[in-house]
């Protein structure tokens, strides 16, 4: 019953999406406002229908309706209700339904927000959004139907993939999907601008907020994914340059380039084609990433079960790339740039370099990701491209970006004088140099680490300096108190001051990445009962093994006592979980998180009688800076996007 309801809702939604797309275009061409109104109505009805389908599947998951195949394979009776709900995005079919639903909600939101404005654009925006929706609905109805039924009905479901049984499962996929789906709206507006030939800055102003919101979710999703990997996968790292991680990182890089280069178009009327290309590329990379995850053409820890879905996504990618490139080519003449770069030392040129580096970064990641495929196609050999390649190429590019992050915000548009540059960069520059020298005197000899520290301090100093100057100026001119002055900075120029906060977050993140990669201490050993293993200033002693039975697994834990240089500091219990449906036991890491360093203990294997255990002990310096940096980046984005009204109200309340 639930299955039929879901399927019917999806079929009608598909028909209505196709109708909505066609009616929007025809209605616009014929100036038929009734037809156009019906097209907009169709978007809303389509959204309601996809919602019905989503709720049907959730209902089946929560009530453990195992007659539906998807539920039987991704849920279990004895799950807490949160895991039952999360089963929706636990595997291919459900996650695509979630995607389609987010997409439908955004489309409805666009129609509700803009139906009385942007009359030239909106029909095409709506048509593009409905076209994308129709594609996802088609995939849901043919190769990846979440409502497929099966017989006999099993007594209990198989449960999620054990790796997904973690609270992060409730957060990370949702953040990431919000980011991915969010880019469809700017893409639709860009397409509408290209189709209508209405290429003034209108599309840019509308989509900026959408793009920044999507960027924020993507950032949060990627950093949160790192945290998940760190505390669940049990290898002591947070980023492995896995194809699917790369698939989320590539659109992030291009979207970052876009967010910066739109400013150049706003201020100087430059880079018009470039901006349209960047936003289209972002969306194409999102679909490319989805294709990679769902097609099974590359090896990855994130691989979904494969099937015909890959062919559908490849066809969709082909349509997007061909139509976008064609439109861009046809409109290229109308996108002549108005301004020119007047000076090498100007904000424009800093943005140009920023874009260049980000796009090169994206390209090198792309190349590394698909190189195994390329090598096999061309030379017939199996190769894998590992972290060393990516780290090698990413390092210098990331340092270049860090440098620009400090310089960019303080160079004026159209070029500044050497004098103004000196005034703006002298303080932060000295701070950076001092930090570098300090690192060197403390015995750090790896030049890239020293450079990272120096540049991170430089960037942070620029941020602090700009805030200080802004607040000082307001206190002088308006006689405001420091807190009110800060509020006014946000009110008057929230994008600039929010953006600076994001830069500060990136600086912290860079320090965290550099420190944890360079100074990680790792010791592995087999311990008999009572023996110790030492790493850095810590020692752990193996005491005993315990085992317990969970709802879905058997867990074996080692009990270890931890000592620092002087005394006992506590107990750690890393474990291994054995699942019926998994081919390998899953490590349950025990970790202590600190500002300076994390202590991280993994149980590798153990003796049946409990006489010995093989463990890996790691001291990971400053990993928490990465999570803090990520949180600050999100905070900065929120500041940059807060409605001015809200900010003024908040700052007015602080009046004495």
């Amino acid at each position: 019953m639930t299955a039929q309801l879901g399927n019917i809702a999806l079929w009608i939604a598909l028909v209505i999406a196709v109708y909505g797309a066609a009616a929007a275009v025809i209605g616009h061409r014929r100036q038929g406002s009734a037809l156009l109104e019906s097209a907009y109505g169709a978007v809303l009805v389509h959204c309601a229908l996809v919602t019905v389908a989503l709720l049907s599947l959730e209902y089946a998951l929560i009530t453990s309706d195992f007659s539906i195949r998807y539920v039987a394979f991704n849920s279990s009776r004895n799950y807490p209700v949160w895991y039952k709900i999360a089963g929706l995005w636990g595997a291919l079919e459900g996650s695509l339904l979630l995607w389609a639903w987010m997409q439908a909600t955004l489309a409805a939101q666009v129609i509700i927000m803009y139906r009385r404005k942007h009359r030239d654009f909106l029909p095409y925006v709506s048509a593009v959004l409905m076209g994308i929706s129709a594609f996802f609905l088609l995939v849901l109805l043919i190769p990846a139907n979440p409502f497929e039924q099966h017989f006999p009905v099993p007594a209990d479901g198989q449960g999620l993939n054990p790796l997904l049984e973690d609270t992060s499962m409730l957060v990370h996929p949702l953040l990431l999907y919000s980011g991915y789906v969010g880019f469809t709206v700017p893409y639709a507006f860009a397409m509408a601008a290209l189709i209508t030939g209405s290429l003034r800055e209108e599309w840019l102003y509308i989509t900026r907020r959408w793009a920044i919101t999507a960027w924020m979710f993507l950032t949060a999703g990627i950093v949160y994914g790192g945290w998940w990997s760190y505390h669940v996968l049990g290898w002591g790292g947070y980023w492995a340059w896995d194809p699917v991680e790369n698939a989320s990182f590539m659109p992030w890089l291009v979207a970052t380039a876009y967010i910066h280069s739109v400013m150049t178009q706003e201020k100087r009327g430059m880079l018009k084609i470039w901006n349209l290309t960047l936003i289209s590329l972002t969306f194409a990379l999102v679909i490319f990433g989805t294709f990679l995850t769902r097609s099974g053409i590359l090896n990855s820890v994130h691989a979904f079960t494969q099937g015909a879905v890959g062919y559908f996504f490849l066809a969709f990618l082909a349509v997007i790339l061909l139509s976008t490139v064609t439109l861009l080519t046809l409109r290229a003449d109308q996108l002549k740039t108005e301004g020119t770069v007047d000076s090498f030392l100007s904000r424009e040129s800093a943005f140009l370099f920023n874009n260049l580096l980000l796009v090169i970064f994206c390209f090198t990641v792309f190349l590394g990701t698909i190189f195994p495929l390329l090598a096999e196609a061309v030379r017939g050999v199996k190769v894998s491209v590992g972290a060393p390649y990516f780290n090698y190429v990413a390092g210098p590019i990331a340092l270049g970006l860090l440098f620009l992050m400090g310089v960019g915000p303080v160079i004026p548009w159209r070029g500044g004088s050497w004098g103004s540059l000196r005034r703006n960069l002298l303080g932060p520059g000295i701070a950076g140099l001092v930090a570098g020298l300090l690192a060197f005197t403390l015995g750090i000899r790896e030049s890239w680490i020293v450079t990272t520290y120096a540049l991170a301090v430089f960037v942070s100093a620029v941020v602090v300096q700009e805030y200080y100057r802004g607040i000082r100026a307001r206190r002088k001119s308006a006689g405001e108190g420091p807190i009110r002055a800060l509020g006014q900075l946000f009110v008057r120029n929230r994008r600039r001051y929010g953006g600076l906060v994001v830069h500060l977050g990136v600086a912290l993140l860079a320090v965290g990445i550099a420190s944890s990669s360079a100074f990680q201490i790792e010791q592995e050993g087999m311990l008999k009962k009572g023996e110790m293993l030492e790493a850095g200033m810590y020692r752990v002693r193996f005491d005993r093994l315990t085992s317990s039975e969970g709802p879905t697994h058997v867990k074996v834990q080692g009990v270890f006592t931890v000592f620092n240089e002087r005394h006992e500091v506590g107990e750690m219990r890393p474990g291994l979980r054995f699942y019926q449906r998994s081919q390998d036991p899953i490590a349950e890491v025990d970790y202590w998180i600190g500002f300076k360093e994390d202590l991280y203990l993994i149980l590798g294997s153990f003796d049946r009688q409990g006489d010995w255990a093989v463990i890996k002990l790691m001291v990971n310096p400053m990993v928490s800076w990465i999570w803090i940096g990520g949180a600050i980046m999100v905070l900065g984005t929120v500041i940059a996007m807060l409605p001015t009204r809200f900010l003024s109200a908040a700052s007015a309340r602080e009046k004495p």
């Binding site: 097609s295 053409i297 064609t326 698909i370 195994p372 495929l373 196609a377 699942y579 390998d584 036991p585």
Partner: protein, 186 residues
Amino acid sequence: MKKVLIPLSVLPILFLLAYGFWTDPSFVPSPLIEKPAPPFALTLFDGGDLSLDGLRGKVVVVNFWASWCFPACYDEAPVLEGAWRAYKDRDVVVVGVNVQDTEKAAREFMDRFQFTFPNGPDPQGKISIDYGVYGIPETFVLDKEGRIAFKHVGAVTANVLTTQIEGLLRRAPQVEESTGGHEREA
């Protein structure tokens, strides 16, 4: 006119991605093929000892398994036992190496499938490491000279196992030709 051609520039990437459908990313050729098999000794569950060196002159099937490896190990268990019964009189030995398991669960597993071929634990995972076992189950077929002729990842099928064993039995001991390879999993 030239403009029409620009969009075609995306075709190579699309073709490359399409090519991906014909490849199998999980297939990694083992560097151990045609190399001497790492020697090992097992203390068997039934109390005896088994040393690989003692099996020179026989075709040896080494299977790495665990009781928690479901469903792959459960699928292949009857196949391994069947091969042992069919070939044990023709100079073929099947050896089971039990990895990362509890003794109780391993014995239950062997009872369930009525294993009669020699099985023993790999308590410190040393044998698995020597053989580069990446995931359970994996199966290696050794020729009469003690070289690894074939490696199979995942549940092994009767068809694959029979083909490999028959091929090695037919092969004259002195001929150094390769029959190693990899079967794509269905």
